[in-house]
Amino acid sequence: MYRTSCSKLTGAWKCLPLDGLVGFSVQQKIFANASRSRMSARSLIQLCKKNQAEWITFQHLCFLKRQYVKSSTGLCQRARPKQEPVSAVLDDRDDSMVRQVQQIPALKPEPGSEVSTCATESNQVEPEADRAARLEARQWKEMRVQYSDLPEIYARLSKLKLTALVVTTAAAGFAMAPVPFDPVAFLMASVGTGLSSCTANSINQYFEVPFDSNMNRTKNRPLVRGQISPLHAVSFALACGIPGVTLLTLGVNPLTGFLGALNIFLYTCCYTPLKRLSIANTWVGSVVGAIPPVMGWTAATGSLDPGALLLGAFLFSWQFPHFNALSWNLREDYSRGGYRMMSVTHPGLCKRVALRHSVALIFLSALGPVLDVTTWTFPLVSLPINLYISYLAFRFYRHGDRQNSRKLFFCSLWHLPMLLLLALTCKKSRVAQDEAAVTSSSASLAL
């Protein structure tokens, strides 16, 4: 069974003069073999040279076009990974195929897609996958579930990398709690948080299909590409969410379960619709990001301590330099898609808030020893990275250009893991705390 683009070629062959059909069956086999066994260009050309006299120019050209890469210096022989999809030439133009016998159509970049600088910058997460998706995107595809692709589809649907980051913050919250480390509770909290995050991300994508189609950053998502149906996505979300929240409620404690469910609700029912209504969505989104470490802490201790809120505050403040910098370069896409983001509607506020919260991180770090979460070394050790991100936020505030926003964004990506790691290393030792408690109680007894 041929792939769609091959079947288009076979259809086109019917338009061509009769003497060309001599090599028809041979060519069919060659194409079938080529697509199945991926013969190299060289061996294929050798095979084709045998039948050269019988070949029609158009097929020859099309076949060669599949193997050649068009570069600015001309056609090259070696089949390299293509920059531009050659199959774009074989796009939906029936009558033009006959005309192509006379000339090689020039490859032109597809409108408004790959060359967008926004796409290249904001697609740091999956550039290779996007390139492959671009090539596939030109073709018609059967809407059937490819079971072999399902793991990848689910990974994209649940934004697996983001989920991993969320689980990391929850794990950090768990580890920072001043209680003996319980591996079972830790595992259950991590898995439960991960499943909740998968649910929230899937529902978010389910809601946003037409908007995602129109933004470069998100146009390769599974629902946009039709790899699964909306029902399938919702079923997946439920299949993750129900066990996830149940695991948190029953396996850890009800408070954590409640926080998990609250987070899903905030993300899907508050943040996602608000994105198109008001800039308040950024604050709601920051709360959503702040809850996982709180969940980790409550999973360990079972109560909402000031320490939990401090960790939540770290994440809350961090979201602003992170997201405001990211959204700065996506203003056109946001505007066209109808998203109300600070960077578009209130650019001054956007920069101010990013700066404000970067500086706040310094003061929050100072609160660590005050709340007995960390030792006094933590504010000192974290000062360099906090100062650096504040400096970048200040430059972003002053200049507000693409370069500074990108620097700030990339800094935020490593800043958070570093901060959490430092907090962990400077965690107030439980032994020291117990000793302090014992000495104070013995002192009071002596009196």
Binding site: N214, K219, G338
Partner: protein, 206 residues
């Protein structure tokens, strides 16, 4: 110029070919493809956006590349033999939602690009610059200048966007709910041993 192009695309989209079989006149003329029994499926003279016809033996829907204007993907729905009323309702709803979406986004993108072009031109002429510089390249404005336009566009269209949002959510929920009903209905029929021309199990359908 763009107006004509857009209008033509919108018109053709509504006249999209219907890949029904011999009973063309008996079925409602909406887009879909049927399995062939003895002959290749007939379809209207290709005047629509897509020149694609699914393989005759395919029992699945087909999804196409992103549309040039709306960036949404065209779907050709499979019409099974003995389609139940529920399935027909679902197909019509999906079809209609797709067309409605396509129209909205085509207008949105077209309006955005048009207004953006006008804005750039007005800014350039206010500065006394021509559209192209000495090298023949198009002049662009700085991102700060463009940001003024982006903000203005968002503010101008806030009500329209909010309305679209509301309607889209409602349609999305309805379609998904209907899909669930169809799937459950088909599963029930399979379990109770009722069959029809083509059995559509949960694993096969999208």
């Amino acid at each position: 110029m763009m107006n004509v192009v857009t209008a033509r695309f919108l018109k053709f989209r509504s006249l999209r070919p219907c890949y029904t079989n011999i009973n063309f006149s008996l079925r409602s003329p909406c887009r879909g493809h049927r399995e062939s029994t003895s002959q290749a499926p007939k379809h209207a003279k290709q005047a629509g956006r897509s020149g694609f016809s699914p393989a005759a033996s395919s029992i699945y829907d087909w999804i196409g590349p992103p549309d040039r204007l709306s960036n949404l993907r065209l779907i050709i729905y499979h019409i099974p033999e003995n389609e139940t009323p529920l399935e027909r309702e679902l197909r019509h709803l999906r079809q209609e939602t797709e067309d409605w979406n396509h129209e909205f986004w085509t207008n949105q993108n077209f309006t955005f690009n048009k207004e953006k072009g006008e804005y750039i031109q007005s800014q350039l002429s206010a500065k006394g610059l021509s559209e192209r510089d000495d090298d023949g390249r198009k002049r662009t404005l700085s991102s700060e200048e463009m940001a003024v336009f982006y903000k203005h566009f968002l503010d101008k269209n806030i009500t329209r966007h909010a309305n679209y949002n509301r309607k889209w959510y409602r349609r999305n929920f309805t379609i998904t709910f209907l899909m669930a009903r169809v799937t459950l209905h088909n599963m029930w029929r399979t379990l109770t041993g009722q069959t029809r021309g083509t059995v559509r199990e949960k694993g096969k359908t999208m």
